[in-house]
Symmetry: D2
Subunit: 362 residues, 4 copies
Amino acid sequence: MIILCRTDLTPAQRERILAEIEGLGFEAFVRTVGERTVIEGPPASSAARCEVERLAGVERVFVNEPGAHLVTHDHRSEPTLVRVGDAVFGGPGTLVIAGPCAVESLEVMLDVARAVRDAGACVLRGGAFKPRTSPYNFAGLGREGLEILAEARAETGLPVVTEVMDTRDVELVSEYADMLQIGSRSMHNFPLLTEVGRTRKPVLLKRGMNATIDELLTSAEYVLAGGNEQVVLCERGIRTFERSTRNTLDLSAVPILAERTHLPVVVDPSHASGRRQIVPSLARAAAAVGAAGVIVEVHTDPSRARSDGPQAILPDELTQLVRDIRAIDAALAPSSLAPSSLASSSPVVPAPAEHPDPEPVP
Amino acid sequence: MIILCRTDLTPAQRERILAEIEGLGFEAFVRTVGERTVIEGPPASSAARCEVERLAGVERVFVNEPGAHLVTHDHRSEPTLVRVGDAVFGGPGTLVIAGPCAVESLEVMLDVARAVRDAGACVLRGGAFKPRTSPYNFAGLGREGLEILAEARAETGLPVVTEVMDTRDVELVSEYADMLQIGSRSMHNFPLLTEVGRTRKPVLLKRGMNATIDELLTSAEYVLAGGNEQVVLCERGIRTFERSTRNTLDLSAVPILAERTHLPVVVDPSHASGRRQIVPSLARAAAAVGAAGVIVEVHTDPSRARSDGPQAILPDELTQLVRDIRAIDAALAPSSLAPSSLASSSPVVPAPAEHPDPEPVP
Amino acid sequence: MIILCRTDLTPAQRERILAEIEGLGFEAFVRTVGERTVIEGPPASSAARCEVERLAGVERVFVNEPGAHLVTHDHRSEPTLVRVGDAVFGGPGTLVIAGPCAVESLEVMLDVARAVRDAGACVLRGGAFKPRTSPYNFAGLGREGLEILAEARAETGLPVVTEVMDTRDVELVSEYADMLQIGSRSMHNFPLLTEVGRTRKPVLLKRGMNATIDELLTSAEYVLAGGNEQVVLCERGIRTFERSTRNTLDLSAVPILAERTHLPVVVDPSHASGRRQIVPSLARAAAAVGAAGVIVEVHTDPSRARSDGPQAILPDELTQLVRDIRAIDAALAPSSLAPSSLASSSPVVPAPAEHPDPEPVP
Amino acid sequence: MIILCRTDLTPAQRERILAEIEGLGFEAFVRTVGERTVIEGPPASSAARCEVERLAGVERVFVNEPGAHLVTHDHRSEPTLVRVGDAVFGGPGTLVIAGPCAVESLEVMLDVARAVRDAGACVLRGGAFKPRTSPYNFAGLGREGLEILAEARAETGLPVVTEVMDTRDVELVSEYADMLQIGSRSMHNFPLLTEVGRTRKPVLLKRGMNATIDELLTSAEYVLAGGNEQVVLCERGIRTFERSTRNTLDLSAVPILAERTHLPVVVDPSHASGRRQIVPSLARAAAAVGAAGVIVEVHTDPSRARSDGPQAILPDELTQLVRDIRAIDAALAPSSLAPSSLASSSPVVPAPAEHPDPEPVP
């Protein structure tokens, strides 16, 4: 039996719970997880569980293996709206995040950023710290890349999302980014999840290529347990036997996640497929399946990209894609998949170029 | 070196090819595959290959492992249109095939068939021979089921597609069905593929849950090699580690197949997911990704279905789904994914109820 | 509720069971599966199930989805011994089945067969009907291949196992083979399983590359339900994301199957790995993990094999392998993995060359 | 073209290489990776590559994607021997690492450690920092756990291996552990790999459950690039569709890795299977397939373990297992799988209890 306590647990409530566990002949283990107290008791009978669940200060009792709670509809019945600059994920419409795989130079970044803004996307992506399979690959520009991203934001008004891979870099990346990306390979990096849970930055949490949907949710739970509820989940393909695509995009995850969590879900067809030619059709499918957004790689000159060029689409393709996605959104608007709550009057429309910078940039 | 010959190969051309192989110091093996002669020669140098490829009567030379040829754009540059009754797969729009998992009784079948027709679907599905994991499961009504299907067709005017599992049943099923379904578990049943290749019935070939996209194409090649070019491919989910859905629907297969074959591709979200709740959103995604059709299970009383009840949607849901799919088709009509060639003026509209029966029914 | 009846079910018992179902307000469906009557009743409460289970003539009641029964320890507590010529699978020691992938010519076959016998293997394998991904590949010599196998048996005294793929060929193959192989791609070919269940030939049932261990057992159940209990299961690798080997050999399946079934289990490292270099070490691992046997491909000239040459080991390697396996068997003999029941005094030793032919050969 | 330079690269050699790249009309990117300089040049023709490869100071040129080099036989032809206390991985025989999943208390740890020593294992394992799917699970005792491990080492003389998950903890864990474990979920945590590459502690690098064999090697390359060549690889099961075991143990990885790397490979049957009952047979298979060692979870009272109890074997089972492994090693000793080079006269025998502590313990 694992007892998740409420954030407003009082010392008296805590004592009462511990006494209950002791009454079962067991010395409780007490831990702090993010903002909450977690109490480990003995294997529980249903009766004992019911007793404990009724105590003040108890949020949830897990009988066997603990799982997710804060991310579920049990904890929060309304959809969570995640605000990144003027973009609101989880409201109506399918938002578009776009940008190059890696930040390579100021010049290229500004070129791409303007194209992204002009195409109608509303968040800019770009990696300053890149996870790479081989140590000899280009792994990003680091702090210099963050500074370039900040300039691209200043120039275009688009908020930026960028990856953080190391617990030691969370503070640094938070100074520059509007949204922290946890990459696929880090979804099971629990110290990192804990660390971003301590910030109050929106988080883009990508599903591990080997992770089940439930594991994606328990990873998100790490962030929410730290008190950071601004989490967007991202389906980006899972590893299967099929090799025509780099990974197999699991679009079923979108409606399944809608059943299990109040968090918005976006889809990354670029990393899933690894092939520019099919990115637009997969992005359209993501809109039709009900995703809150898509994140695509775009480049003004994919053949010269230092990372993942073969999967980047061109600015013109992005423009057409944004149009197609809006057409699908409109076609399905009266249908059941459209969330009803609105966070702002028109979140799909990107911020104007004069949008004031929402984060301090050194 | 494997040499695939043309169907109009003359004896003289054949002699010339064999002489060429002999000239390489190798005694050729000659086989007949469907309508074609296949000649197995020695491992080939590029030069030798070029020589052979130039000979009259040679359609294609495979250097190492032979693969697919007749299904590729190399063999046929136009999209193949597959006609099933009045429905034309491969033309514009996303067609809907619907019906119960298994044919259970005349009464239920007629109920469902009318609902399918009224919802706007254009082909009726239903299993008379059902592959079942356990031998103690209901495995379909067999010939009685085929007769029920024929009555449902007579009543509604909808053409019917139904599965054949045994080489010994191909003739029987062909007497009743408008389209022969090769199920996922039979995709690697090469004698069966050969047998349906000998018929001139349209074939619905489902991807094996363990099969790569290229293997789906080589299985289709078996049918085309027999002279039957009326094949529709079907993506129906692959087996992965994820268990929230029965299989993982691989929608990327649709645009990938469009790059590799002239055959139309439909999507089966019912078997892929195994969960009624997410079938409509996956079917919408299939339309948006560019599928030629979807095949969904529908039942008037899913809780009483003898097979796969949990994945069947209700008639009302089907009606809404057909509407959503048409809306997506319309929204994307000017986009690049819409095939330009039209097979008939309006293939999406189902045949009227008085549609004359295209196949003799006992 | 699915009721599996005993083979000696009397008409009176049957009536009694049907009356019980009727008493639950449900009209039972009655089917014949192999040698047994199967009765489909309504969804069952535990109480109703207990009532039915007590009735005479009832072997087993499945509450939800039916699964395997005859293959389990519930049905038979002793290990099943499967006799193929003088070889006994399921007794002590790890038997070796060896031979070429495909039967190519009498000369090559006799060469390989003598090498197999001399190395100490006790069953000869070789394919006359070969499942091939592409229709243009060599698919075996058919009846001619069976005749060659019969000559190899006459020459060496080794019993032969060969694959059957088509229900229409079961009778023919049974005339020649001592053991019928159901290949990986046919594990879900239910009509074929039913057909071999009607014979009284030992069956070598290979796990599908996409099949779970439980599905392998329900496929074996098809054969046992037909009254044929001489089934050897074969682990031959499953399809995963890893591509260094053709498939991933799942050796855990051997001890897991030992927990779930009384049938012997052999391992095929040749098809699993697709690489000659690692076949011997995997075969040693199979012996150490407790397999009843291994099946390996061997060829006197792998570079000239018309099928799967790269995975065939040489006769000398086979000789060393048989030695290593016997050493492992001896080293672990007093350990818990050695079955205690002996079927014959020395099943590991192959039959002498003058072994009389156990099957009529035309 | 990515150029990996030698550790003894001189400034003049570097200039020469950069000039060569410049001569190709490209401005080179220069990075430092661990102890080495890496130079990124333009896409290379074969001719250009050959030119560059001939230059002094160049260790290896990768044409397209860079991969592993330092871990391969190209870089080092002799097997690497990894010394952990008196244990030498990579020499003859199969070593046994054993201990509880998590360090729970001093009392339990000492109990288990004595049992591990008495059974004949030669390294003690135990987790002080535990990666856990849910944030509410017991995640280890942290520094207190490390101190308990140090006491267990002092008591038994066994060197200890324990996991490090966070770059910020590498220094702390290195103070206590004889070997640093990188867990399956961290195999793609590149900052962590870089950090342990800076230490001179032996590293136990577990294969990610989603990682290919080649990716395991490129992750090891991160450590070697830092100058730390004492790396033991660990196969611990990959994620597949099969659910009878937690993961699918890929024993083929052992001989495949032997072909590709000079690093020793051990096998973890406990985490792979998740089921105590089959751990011993899988460990025997690991010995037979040629692994340098096995790592198994053992507990004196598995039912009370706070983590992974169901997969821990009992001390008696461990004793039998060590005996079986030695028997297999002896049976196969003259066979080809036994490495010929000896690091010490008898590495299998564990250190005596009075073994002086090889690492300073606070």
